[in-house]
Every structure is written in structure tokens, then in C-alpha cells.
Amino acid sequence: MNFPLKQQGTHMSINTGKSISRNTEILNVVTHALLFVAAWAVFNRHQVFGLAVALHGVLILFTAVTSAVMAHMLFYLFFDWVDKKEFPSFKVQLQSVMKRTWSGTPIVTALILGLAVHPGIALYVIGITVFFAEILAKLLFGGYGQNIFNPVAFGLVFILLAFGATEMMAGHLPDAVTAATPLVGLSQVNWMMDSQEIQRFMTDQGGFLNMLLGLVPGSFGETARLASLLALAYMIYKKVLDWAIPLFYLGTIFVITLVYGFSIGAGWWYPFVHLLTGGIVYGSIFMITDPVTSPINRQGKAIFAILLAMFTLLIRLNTPHPEGVAFAILLMNMFVPFIDAKTANVTLVDTHKKITSVGITFVVALVVVIGFTSLIHFFG
């Protein structure tokens, strides 16, 4: 008896007893984690600002997802037309377009971006942002897996540059929403504070626990820090995420801000002011862990995370921008091919060398942040 000639590897025939592919499984886990954070965030916004803002939050996510899916569909339809691709019928074409759309993970990107924005943002702003982020940062490079810039970070920077601070807010929401967030206040004093100011700041925010739970003004989903951490634990448990990036990122930020905090006399609680404001925790879990735009092996991931922490803190402490995560991600995305090339070797040998390289990167990050910031303060 003859059997058909198969080009693929023989392992392809192993019946794993699963009806969905591993990729779909991973996407499902990430989506569930995000929906959990979203539910928590909506509840938080309800507690802090009331029902109108909570419902507005749901609409933000809905708009973001719709816009992302539309961006993919329109992009593929347009270029099918430009390339004069022929399909037997419109139905077949639509099936092909939808298949390519889902493989581009629009929902995950849209949810991450939707949760990272201001809770009072106008719906047209989020719609346009997601649309352009998907097309400019993902589809133009050839779709998911080919992009070099993180679409979410791109979207956040896009909002900052394309819309004014007040005109991008939805008009019908209570004024409390559009009031300055704690981050802006901290940024105005360049994050310089002594231990008493920290105490006052913490009390204003309702204490450590409130900040961890996210019952404070701030971004829509980024404030739900405990929820993000729980989502991280879930994703690590399900083995869809490498723990190296969040660990090295948060660890570096903690150590550097601790050292810096003591150098300005702010004390033990200073690192928590950084970790519990803005999008550091949220970004470390959902943004910088994007596998496509981060290095591929663990050594590279550790170096990437440490340098990312360095840029985040440099931007936070020394520029007028209150938040450093999105800028830092875009900066570090440009380093990824370089890091990949420099860590191309056999993973099992030279372990000492690898640990040393990560250690040196860490020391460089520490010296650069503290040294640079101190110099600026000395001369400024």
C-alpha cells in the first residue's frame, strides 16, 4: 500500500488529544487574564467616580476592540483589492480576511491599549488611536510576528502627540475624572520628596492597600495593580508568559528607586511611590512581555528588562513627561535585534558569562539613572 508524501515533520501526526492549537490556547489565557483585569478596573472606576465612568469604561473597551478588528479587515480587504487577489466569491474572501484578522491578535492588543488609557477619554480618540496603532505599528510591518514596535506603546504615544490634554476627554463625564492624576502632581516636583511628603501622599491616596487595589484616580486599567499581579500569576501558572521580563523589570525599578530614594532622603517607601503610580506594574505584565517585540532568549530578556527600567526611570525623573513606560518600550524595541544578535550562542555553556553580562547591565542602569539624575539636579 502506498502512503501520501508528506513534507511536514513526522511529529505533526502525534495526536495530542486537543481540539485547539497551542497558539489559540495562549491567546485564550491572555484574553481571560485581560478580561479579569478589565472587570476589576470597571468596578474600581465605579467605586471612585461612579456608574457613568464605569459604563464609559466598558464603552472604551468595546470601541477599542471594534476598531482593532475593523483596522485589520479594512487593511486586508484594501490590499487584496490593490494586489488584485482573486477569490471564487466574496464569502470566501471574507473568510480568508477574517482568518488573517484573528491571527493578528486584534482583541488582545485592543484590550491592553483600552485599559492603559485615561478613564474619561473620548470614544472617538480611542477608536482612532487603536485603528492607527494596529495599522502603523503592526500591519504595515507584515502583521503579527513581524512588527518591531509594540503597538500598545505606539498607541499611548500617539494619543499623547495627536490630542490635546483637555480636548480628548469625553464631555459628559463628571469633572473629577478629568482632574489631574496623582502622577502629574509627582511629575511637577520631579519625583523629589522627603519621607514626610511620602506619608502625606500615601494618606491622600487612601493608603498602600488602596493604591494596590486601585481605588485611586488614574488610568482606567493601570490602577488595578493587584488584579494585574493576579493575572500575571495565572499566566505564569498556565506557562504562557516568561517570568524573566516582569521580574527583572520590577526588580530593577525597585532597587534603583530604593537607592535613589535614600540619596534624596525619601526612605524606604520611595520605591512604592514609583511602583504604585502610573503604568509600571501594568506595563511590566501586559506591555513589555509582548513576545514579538522583546528578545527571544532569557539572557536577552533580562538585559532588555533592565535597560527598559533604566529608560523608564530616566524619563520619569528627568523629563516633563509624567509617565515613562511607553516611551521606554519604543526606545528599547529598537535594541531588540541588536540584543538578539549579541546573545546568539549556545544557551548551555558560559553560564557565568551570561550572569556577568546581566549583572554589568544592571550596574550600568543603576549608575546611569542615579548619576544622570543627580547631575541634572546639581546643575539645574
Binding site: 508528506k6 515533520g9 502525534i14 495530542t16 503579527y144 510576528g145 544578535a341 548551555l348
Partner: protein
């Protein structure tokens, strides 16, 4: 990570199919088919008659596995997917035997030189897949301290080594005794997989009567059976070219058994256990067959294929699913090193874009970066491939298996290796 699927066959009794009408003995050893043929069409042969001899730098004999008449010497499909010369013999069912030496009753009477001579005469070769004659490994054994017997058999589905060890435990320890003596090794380690209780129970009693031999149970992970990985896990050491650098000689368990059987009987390897597994067979089991038996005959003898086979949904594999080769016909002869045939029904897996998740890097037993190698292959960047040490790839197939996007990473890894070796 990889489901062993051993339960499909390892509990069942071994079927015997040892009287085929014809056998076709392939004239191929490793990648060489340079053989000097000693018989012609019409010659009478017996079990153990030397049919041909490899005639380049290695001398590897090919034996007849039945008694009868040579029908033809012709090119046929071989399990390596290349056409190879086969000697086709018609069985006369007399089972006359031609021994290369007298049967040995008392093994302790054999001297080291006699054992080495028997290694050469019996033509016993690495049955773990290398096909390297064992006497080659015994050229230089002055430094050998430890004999490591690899009975791990980590490939999913395959249970022929396990079945062989279970039924021939006495021969296994006879063989360990002989091979340890020939290498003057002080210690023997028999590595088997954890969780195979019946096998362990069958072997355990012998550990007492052979104080120098120790049974080690290894974790049930793929690719534990890879020599280098096994030694890394057992001794926490790694070597460059061969285990001999660490004073270790590594031999497959079936090789040991077949050598002992050969010394006991004076006949070369002419029968072996082959696993037939996978949803495509009506009955999945281990079958004892003559070397050279045609796969189609064996399959017919155990009940044939299920109905779906033949509708282009099935795949036939020689060896295990991770390192085996896809073959397109069952008109093939069982070789001395064939440990199994799988007939698997295709499950739908579509390739999607690489998300650079790094799963292939995390799982590579050789510590390579398959996804980076794939990129370098695409760019034809040999310099980068050298930096990535692509030539260390053993083609174990794990990177493709773990890839969440179902990309055939192994294919490009193997290409990367050949690109580096070509320079």
C-alpha cells in the same frame, strides 16, 4: 511534555511472525551502500550465511535471516527513503543454521580477545539507531571506567526495547558482563525510564547477583535517550565528541541483549522485536520478525490497517514520531535497527506566524536557539549559524513539537546544520 503513548503496546504479549515467504536483506549500513556481494541468484543460503560485506573503511557483514534460495538482487525502497540494493531470499522453512562460532555455555571461559573477536564476527551494531559496529567502539577502551547501558527508549509509541529487556533480562545481564569484561570497565549502569514498574521488577533481581551493575531510573522526558543528554543528567558532565572522553562507553540495551544472544547461540542477529503502533493499525503491538521481512506482510499478519488509511489522511513512519522518517510505501524490509513502524492519522495543524515566544529555545536539549537558526537559514547567513553552533543540532524534533504556531522548526534546524558542515 511529550506524551509517551507507551501504554498502547507495552502491556500486550509479543506476537511472533517469523516465517515469512520471502525476505529482502538491505545492503546498507549507515550512509554507505558500498557492499561486496558474496552470493548470486540461485545460491542456497542458511540462517547466518554471510550474504555481503561492507567494503570501505568499515567491515560490516550482512547475514541471511532465513534458509532458502536467493531469488534476486535488486533495487528496492529502503526505510531511509533511498532506493537500495536488497538481496531477496525465498524461505524454504527448513531453518537450517550456519554458525559463525560454537555456542558458548559458560561465559566466564571467554577471554577479552575472544569477546572482541565475537563482536567482529557477529557483526553486532548499535541498535539505538547509529548502526555503528560495536567493535569500532572497542578499538580503544583503555580509559573506559563505566559501561552505560541505554535502555531509556524515550521516543513516544516505541516499546520494542522495553519488550526485549522484559523478555530477555538474563541475556541483558550476560551481555553487560561480556561488554564490561571486554572494556575492563569497573562499573555498569543500566538506565531505564521511571514509571515502568514491570520492567523494573523484571530487572531488579539481577542487580543483586551483579554487584558492579546499578539500575538507574531516569525521568520520563524526551529526549532522555540521547546519549549526551543522558550522560549530562546522570553524571552532571558534558563531553565534546564521544563519551569516551569521560571514561564512559554507552551502548543501547537491545545491542547488549542481541550480542549476548549471539554469543550464546553462535548465530548473528536474525530476528528482532518491532513495535507497530498508531491509530492506523487495527491491532497495535510488538511483533517478533525476521530481519528483512516486508512491512506489508507483517501488517497483514496482525490485522491490517483501519479503514481511514488509504484516504490520504494517514502517515507511515519508520522509527519514532519525533526522529523517525516519513515513508511512502509499506513495501519495505525491516532492518536490523528498525525499532518500530507507526501509522498515524493526520491531525489538523496549521502553521501560523512565529510569535518569537522562545519555546523552542527553552526546550532544546542541546541548548540551541532554533528560531534564530531558522532566521539565519532564511538569510543564508552561515557566519551567524556558526555563532549559533547549529552543527550541534541532533534533529530530535522537540522544537517543532513544542512550537505553539506549529512551525516545522526542526526542518530548518537540520538544514542549518548541513549548511554549517558544508561551510
Amino acid at each position: 511534555m511529550v506524551d509517551g503513548k507507551k501504554g498502547l503496546t507495552n502491556q500486550k504479549a509479543i506476537e511472533t511472525y517469523t516465517q515469512p515467504k520471502v525476505v529482502a536483506i538491505p545492503l546498507k549500513n549507515r550512509d554507505s551502500d558500498n557492499f561486496e556481494i558474496h552470493v548470486e541468484v540461485g545460491s542456497k543460503v542458511k540462517i547466518g550465511t554471510v550474504l555481503a560485506m561492507r567494503k570501505d573503511h568499515l567491515k560490516v557483514p550482512c547475514f541471511s535471516s532465513v534458509s532458502g534460495t536467493v531469488l534476486a538482487i535488486e533495487k528496492k525502497d529502503h526505510v531511509s527513503t533511498r532506493k537500495t540494493n536488497h538481496i531477496v531470499i525465498e524461505n524454504d522453512f527448513q531453518d537450517e543454521k550456519e554458525r559463525y562460532a560454537d555456542p558458548v555455555e559458560e561465559l566466564s571461559t571467554l577471554s577479552v580477545e575472544e569477546i572482541k573477536e565475537k563482536l567482529q564476527l557477529s557483526g553486532v551494531m548499535g541498535l539505538g539507531g547509529t548502526e555503528l559496529p560495536i567493535y569500532e567502539k572497542y578499538r580503544d577502551v583503555d580509559e573506559i571506567e563505566t559501561l552505560l547501558i541505554n535502555g531509556v527508549e524515550c521516543e513516544p509509541y516505541l516499546t520494542s526495547d522495553e519488550a526485549n529487556m522484559k523478555t530477555s533480562a538474563t541475556l541483558l545481564f550476560d551481555g553487560i558482563y561480556l561488554l564490561m569484561k571486554a572494556a575492563s570497565a569497573k562499573k555498569g549502569i543500566l538506565a531505564i525510564t521511571k514509571g515502568k514498574k514491570e520492567l523494573y521488577d523484571a530487572l531488579k533481581p539481577y542487580e543483586n547477583s551483579y554487584p558492579n551493575v546499578e539500575i538507574k531510573q531516569m525521568d520520563d522526558v524526551y529526549p532522555m535517550g540521547w546519549e549526551k543528554y543522558l550522560i549530562r543528567r546522570l553524571f552532571k558532565k558534558t563531553y565534546d565528541q564521544t563519551p569516551a572522553e569521560l571514561g564512559i562507553l554507552c551502548v543501547n540495551s537491545s545491542t547488549v541483549i542481541e550480542f549476548a544472544r549471539s554469543v550464546r547461540s553462535g548465530l548473528p542477529l536474525y530476528e528482532r522485536i518491532v513495535t507497530l503502533a498508531g491509530e492506523g493499525f487495527v491491532h497495535q503491538q510488538n511483533v517478533k520478525v525476521r530481519v528483512g521481512t516486508l512491512l506489508a506482510d507483517v501488517v497483514a499478519a496482525i490485522g491490517g490497517y483501519v479503514e481511514e488509511v488509504g484516504f490520504k489522511t494517514a502517515r507511515l513512519i519508520h522509527g519514532g514520531p519525533l526522529m523517525g522518517t516519513s515513508i511512502i510505501t509499506d513495501d519495505l524490509a525491516v532492518t536490523a535497527t528498525t525499532n518500530g513502524f507507526l501509522c498515524l492519522l493526520e491531525s489538523l495543524k496549521e502553521e501560523s506566524p512565529c510569535s518569537r515566544c522562545g519555546a523552542c529555545i527553552d526546550h532544546c536539549p542541546a541548548g540551541l536557539q532554533p528560531v534564530q537558526m531558522a532566521q539565519a537559514v532564511k538569510n543564508k547567513d552561515v557566519g551567524m549559524l556558526k555563532t549559533l553552533a547549529a552543527d550541534a543540532c541532533v534533529g530530535c524534533g522537540l522544537c517543532s513539537f513544542v512550537c505553539p504556531s506549529s512551525i516545522n522548526v526542526t526542518k530548518s534546524s537540520i538544514r542549518a546544520k548541513s549548511m554549517v558542515l558544508r561551510g
